[in-house]
Point group: C2
Chain length 308, copies 2
Amino acid sequence: MIGKLIEGIKRTGAPIVVGLDPQMKFIPASVKKEAYDKYGETLEGAAESFFLFNKAIVDAVCDLVPAVKPQVAMYEALGIPGLQAFKRTVDYCHEKGLLVIGDVKRGDIGSTSLAYATAHLGSVEIGGKKVEPFGEDFATVNPYLGSDGVKPFVDVCRENNKGIFVLVKTSNPSSGEFQDREIDGKPLYELVGEKVREWGEDAMDESGYSEVGAVVGATYPEMGAKLRKVMPKSFILVPGYGAQGGTGKDLVPFFNEDGLGAIVNSSRGIIAAWQKERYASFGEAAFADASRQAVLDMKKDIGEALGK
Amino acid sequence: MIGKLIEGIKRTGAPIVVGLDPQMKFIPASVKKEAYDKYGETLEGAAESFFLFNKAIVDAVCDLVPAVKPQVAMYEALGIPGLQAFKRTVDYCHEKGLLVIGDVKRGDIGSTSLAYATAHLGSVEIGGKKVEPFGEDFATVNPYLGSDGVKPFVDVCRENNKGIFVLVKTSNPSSGEFQDREIDGKPLYELVGEKVREWGEDAMDESGYSEVGAVVGATYPEMGAKLRKVMPKSFILVPGYGAQGGTGKDLVPFFNEDGLGAIVNSSRGIIAAWQKERYASFGEAAFADASRQAVLDMKKDIGEALGK
């Protein structure tokens, strides 16, 4: 699957993923009204507004980027109707030719990790048919439980041509509490990075990259530079650009010399662009056009930083 | 909420939680037939068989234990119908007077962790009403992202009288890959344990225990003894008893001198008891009675080990 992501990056010229992390406060009143008119002010109505909001943004940006990254927590907070909207979003993005990175940060052990991997990247055989429970193309995975937790995901990736991104160094201020602590002279995130490289050796793609990528925050460019060398064949999914403070030039160390090896996420900076001063002239009704412009601006910022 | 759990443990005399982690291979043919007759051999049918299986076991054990721990991964692997069965299980257990520990192992940062906490322990205000998306009483939380990831859960616990169990030392063989590595002379799990104590200081219950507990595997009793001292006011949720190899005497170090401070989970050993030689005489039709006997035997084993 990492090969397909690379194709998409080359086709669009944009190593960019749009984070579809809806919150009610980002959604224009007209979208909420349409959803509530249909389902009432209920979880179903709120979930419908998530889907309508996502759909408009996806329609506006699907020719510009290779992939989207819905954050499942936002949907889970609306219960079953929210998760139905998550699934509809995954399916709609596929219809529009986008790859989907499920930002699920799952991780458990043995048969339980296998169940999560099946849920998001695999299929269940039932009644003689194979059914994909959620059907994303990639998922994010938490490494705290060690190889027992990650390997079932790697197996499912190999069987189904899917990929994962393992949390290595996250973008948040307190990520250092555990991740930066030194063990035998190396920070924990580096040990996790070494494991990512090792896990990836069992899941190499023809592109020369492995199906086991890593999450490293844009807010830590020096650590990104280090980790780039530790895991040369892993793609790095880089959150933290824009709203969390990462800029175009911070991203350079995350890329390999082939110009590949990283894909940068922006969520709020794109989906809530219409609420920012910079894009205020679009107005609320044209919120999706504001998102499109924010993607174009991000593409330019990253392209300039990479000297393209 | 930890006070309610303590009440339940005292009432039943059983510091035991039954893990409701259904898998198709544990479910008797008659239960599957009933479910498939209603919904066909579909995800809906499989999810219905999970619920019917859980319901029979809950009916058979609800007077013996204070709590259950459904593992959401198993339900998530059946997609939306599976998660509907998870929610129905939570609601049914509440009807039967059981507390519910959602084994969700979620963890993210900031607004995203808040969304997970809302999903499982909080409520959404919509249309002038408060709706609980999943409505468990406790949830398990992954600490890899640090305080940014855990504190939103602690806030939601305080506002809603709920509790969490943070993964500290997990029961699996490779948990040591990261968790046992030494940092300034202490293993990582101990540093996480110290943070659990610190996070818990903001969420103390009248019982003297905090709403922030820890997960420590029965398979590591020496580490349990150490962690018991590091986090004296945190309840320890202990997986790994039975199927994973932990025995009654391994559990002693997890308890405080007041006889409290730990609650032991068994999943497969109870819900799939009917498939074990020891309980074969019950027969497939009486699978729930076999589960009841397995709980009684576990209670006896733990009671003897604790000298009760």
